[in-house]
Amino acid sequence: MNLAAATNESLAEASNVLIYSSMAVYTLAFFAHIAEWVFGSRSKVGRTAAALSTSSAKASAAAPAVKAQAGGTAVLERPEVITRSAAGTRDVPDGPGAAGGTFKGDLYGRIAVSLTVVAFLVEAGGVITRALSVQRAPWANMYEFSITFSTVAVGSYLVLLALKKNVRWIGLPLVTTVLLDLGIAVTTLYTDSDQLVPALHSYWLWIHVSTAILCGAVFYLGAVGTILYLFRDSYENKLASGGTPGKFASSVMERLPSAASLDKFAYRINAAVFPLWTFTIIAGAIWAGDAWGRYWGWDPKEVWSFITWVAYAAYLHARATAGWKGRKAAYLALLAFACWLFNYYGVNIFVSGLHSYAGV
């Protein structure tokens, strides 16, 4: 064995160690999030219920006051912009977040986010050393795809946090599923690092697979938002119709953003990624054209990409169609994401096609 091969082997070793370490740190982040939710539950919040029970009186309250704040100085004041939510949406304030405004909860929340950042860096290190050990992009088999996928999902979440978006509520479900994903990756999907078969040697691979991973990761965040939207919407519906949701449900739901905000979040995410997903499919078609001599051959992977695409298009249409927005559109979005997941796991495992990865 030559020297280069030996270094590669030790890099691959290092990669494995880093991935396991990141799992340990994610586990700590998971517990910190749990602590955040637990301490947050001590706070007394009831804003949603309050908002909903006064909603009939709100119509007039929503008419804005003339507010041109007079400053004490000669500096030009800026008139205040008053926003009014569109008709048809409940005007419910967003929840205070998992920490529920409690100091302790918030502290644990911050610890959880910091740990997530550390775990992300360690995991990203694992992905990069894996890539270096094989000297190619780290997504030639399902193991590599899984570790890259969860890294990108966490990275996207951290980017949203850095942009000061109200997304800390994703933390717990995200870290939980990332742990699951990594668990499956290291136990059942693990493949030793190795080179690519010639069919996977193409710069279109870089483009196609990297955008596919990014789309999936971000669609995933959208799906989490959609699921929480459905729960939160039921909760608000129950409150609005005078019901009293269970104590646990109230405690959790109360702290999430309002249904309208969650819905908007999910829509923005899905709509923003849809053009990239379109591009991913087209890039894949170009690659297939070069590799197999046809652009589109209804290979199972191609079929499921197409199905996913059409399902997301249906979701976007549903959003623009009266009678379909809201919950029905949300179900479509979840269905679309389920198609994406099936394409990733199901097709590789249950259906054989040209897109077979080395050692599943």
Partner: protein, 592 residues
Amino acid sequence: MSKANSTGTRQREEDEHGSAHGAAGEQLSTAPREERPDTGAGVPAMSVIGWVRWFWRQLTSMRVALILLFLLSLGAIPGSLIPQTSVDDMKVQAFKERHTTLTPIYEALQLFDVYSSVWFSAIYILLFVSLIGCIVPRTGQFVGQLRSRPPGAPKRLTRLPAYTTWRTEAEPEEVRATALRLLRGRRFRGHEVGDAVAAEKGYLREAGNLVFHIALIVMLIAFASGQLFKSEGGKLVVEGDGFSNTLTQYDDFKSGSLYDSDSLAPFSFVLDDFVGTYEKSGPQRGTPRTFEARVTYNEGADGAERKGVIKVNEPLVVDGTKVYLIAHGYAPVVTVRDGKGKVVSKSAVPLLPIDNNITSSGAIKVMDGYKDKNGKKTQLGFKAFFVPTFAGHGKGQMFSQFPALDFPVLALSAYQGSLGVDSGLAQNVYQLDTSKMKEFKDKDGELLKKMLMPGEKLDLPDGAGSITYEGTEEWASFQISQQPGNGWALGGAVAAIAGLAGSLFIQRRRVWVRAVRGADGVTVVEMAGLGRSESAKLPEELGDLSAALVTTAPVAPEKPAASTSTDGPDATNEAGSRPVHPAEAPAEGAEK
């Protein structure tokens, strides 16, 4: 409960295409209005024309587009789970043998050809008819919107999603003029209507949406015409041999139904060398690492010779035709001599790989030129089995251990008689039909066979001659395909992505600036914004605009009465002489 419910219903009724904002929100999109049952869409008139019109209106509604999209994805599923003739015919045959009860049902439902089936075609054709029926009126409407100007300000700006107001000592006319300049400076289309400025921006959203939907049609047509006019053929070439692009040279050939064989591009190439390397160690030992075919090709009938390399992902493109590298294998070179030692044939015989380590099998046929020891003309046949890397004598079966040519061994068994090539039936060149042949026997009376290393020969008994394994060439097989319309498909795809990005990322929005003199002689400025969908950007933009406007229309000192009011400007100044009916009332009428 009843309280909440009634507001809910009212809100839902308002919430259709901005009707809550009346004329102000009109035409902010060209999305078709959804018909509600009470507007008569559900009750077609009994006349034929009535039915047709009803059907057309249903087909081009968003709801049906949605359902068709859903059906399209649903319909695509079986094709990914059931083997498809167009993808893998062998698998279909195997499936049919295994499932004798299911097969007739599947056949009746065209489940082996989902993507060309009647029902799948019906879904997408309906979808595209619906699409055209949707695009044409929307395009007209959009052009109309581009020609006309943004609608005037609604009566009560306070009802809009983003709103701001202040009092200033500047003249109303001056404020409006400045506002118009400001908005135009930010590339709004604006004009003054009555006491307000109306402006709009983001038309590219609609344009993008139309481009996207039109691009889908372009892609479909390009794809369909590609299928109709395409040609695709396969050819196996041994190192040193060549191919020229005429119909007779193909091993197999498929073409679309409108294909014309005169349109084959005139070119030819010679396979100079095939290079394959494989992983030497590790768990993926034997996995191919490089495959490349080095060729010399001529473009056109008398074009200059050029060198080229064809790799798995890099087809050679000659004159619009693409030559893909599909497979490769080995072709042992054998020399056959007759009893007198005369060379009867010398050729490289391509054998077909049967496993990943390129264990290969095939047949060597000597059709003419051979005479037996009595001088009688006859034919020779050999069953050939080849391994590029032999395990070693006594090490189990004759299966290759590695795909590269490390320890090649050719195993032959010999026959003589009639190869059956004249029987008129198409013959597989890789199989030997021994029904009219006689085995050569060895000393023990068994079928004569032998394993040969390069340079070794197998002597046929009784001076019948010999066959020598000289060495090994490699072969590569190519797919040569020509598919017009690819440029259009790619262009359509690029346009679709660009249009989609415009459609999803650009906000179409309207801004109104009203400036009127209040009863006390102070000017009241009101600004409001309305977008297609609620967006955080709109209030921000309105804030920026108002901040810019405040520099020329500064906030007037507060009057105590005004600052405490909660009823909006309508109540505090004489601009309140404007009617304060709910804005929906005239708007709902306009909708119908």
